[in-house]
Subunit: 147 residues, 4 copies
């Protein structure tokens, strides 16, 4: 089978290793499908913090999640270390879509790929995100050539 | 705005009420986006049990999750009671796609809609699901007229 | 073996049924030990809400957890319904200790017993809890005779 | 206030850094009290694996948790890195008590201290743990002098 670029580690300009936890596993002895989203969330918010936009309950604006999704290709399980890859797929005035991939330990083909769409909001309404943040996120945009 | 049938409680032939938990809420004081998938999972597996197919680690076959997704329209928060709606969208020989919706307390328009695709497997390979189970799941199939 | 009153359902003046979730189970196919604390938390905060003291991030004061503990006597597992028992064990000026017990489905002897100590705080310092709330909590105090 | 040795990083011969996750935080914007137990669990089971005793659902014997507890001294919050300290407090024929402490980022005084008691079981009954494992665990026993 031809490997799509989205499952290849090279497609992700930003990566972060996160350890699994004992109770990430469910009765099937593998990482539960909902846990993937905890890892997505964690990596996206860490990136935002590193780019100067720590998400806080009482901040002037905050990113709300409006859509998420995940495809599961292979099982992972505690005590795996998950290497999370991130690339910005779309970047709008107020919204950003992150493509994410989970790599088991040292594997280079993703065990799962997903996405998360953030909309910047203030009092429940979409507003333009900070211009500096937007410029910094642009550096993580997927290169057209890799599609 | 025209309400799509998928967000209307009437579109879901099976419903189950699940309480939120204190730590379903994250720093934003609302139910975290990953929690929606815990509720999806819980309701799907309860339905399978009720239809005579309790998912067990050492069962002869087991349903693996191959894809999930969720759109978030409105925030929910502990201590909300979530009314989870379920309808079977596609039913194959070995796979089934459930459409799911989360309704806040007594609301009739979904705060979130999503889906979960199960593939029946034995030793990692897709196999036809039990014929009896398949017949029982058929009763939860979305009526064409409601599309 | 003599049953201690703390494991008997009769020792708990307040009870609430909470369903387990699919991924409360860990690799052992039973409810993970950390999940018990999610149920404790959920029931304590629901009681506080019912007594007029909804815990909110931006409230004038908030109860912080300073100690918790749990003893595990028997395994529980999804899809069990857990009946959570609560009794106020100690009630101070600013603090309250809840004793909690988890009963599997319709069982009357607890599968687990635990406790949670709350201290009412404002800006990180202990302060006297609201007098009305304290009076209402008093009604849930363990009767001396049942010790 | 005199610092007790149990809150000092030096009291723990084994340490492991674990990152917090976005939804470890609850509505109060701090790490929820139940999450501490997820970290305890994770570190204890990783140690057991490193000592040659990976806990598996279908193993010949398995360690069940019979008691846990935690005292919370200071708040932690995502995106903290938690440094988890572990020391073996008691080591019996079939049981072991681990004392655990959570240190916020580079702090040397614990934000929380707790414990977890494991009993080795086979088909629900306590049995002597493997002699090799017991010998290896002995190296993590708390030195009397540090009490």
């Amino acid at each position: 089978m031809v490997e799509s670029p989205q499952r290849n580690l090279d497609a992700y300009p930003h990566t972060l290793q996160l350890p699994t936890r004992w109770n990430d596993n469910d009765s099937f002895g593998h990482m539960n499908n909902a846990m993937h989203y905890q890892l997505f969330d964690t990596v996206v918010n860490l990136l935002l913090r590193d780019l100067g936009s720590l998400q806080e309950a009482n901040g002037a604006s905050r990113f709300l999640v409006v859509e998420t999704g995940c495809r599961y290709f292979a099982e992972m399980a505690y005590p795996d270390i998950v290497n999370v890859g991130l690339v910005v797929r779309n970047l709008g005035r107020s919204s950003v879509r992150y493509d994410l991939a989970l790599f088991r330990n040292t594997e280079r083909e993703a065990a799962a790929v997903g996405f998360l769409v953030h909309v910047n909001t203030s009092e429940g309404r979409a507003i333009a995100m900070d211009e500096d943040l937007r410029n910094r996120l642009e550096k993580y945009l997927r290169k057209t050539a890799s599609l």
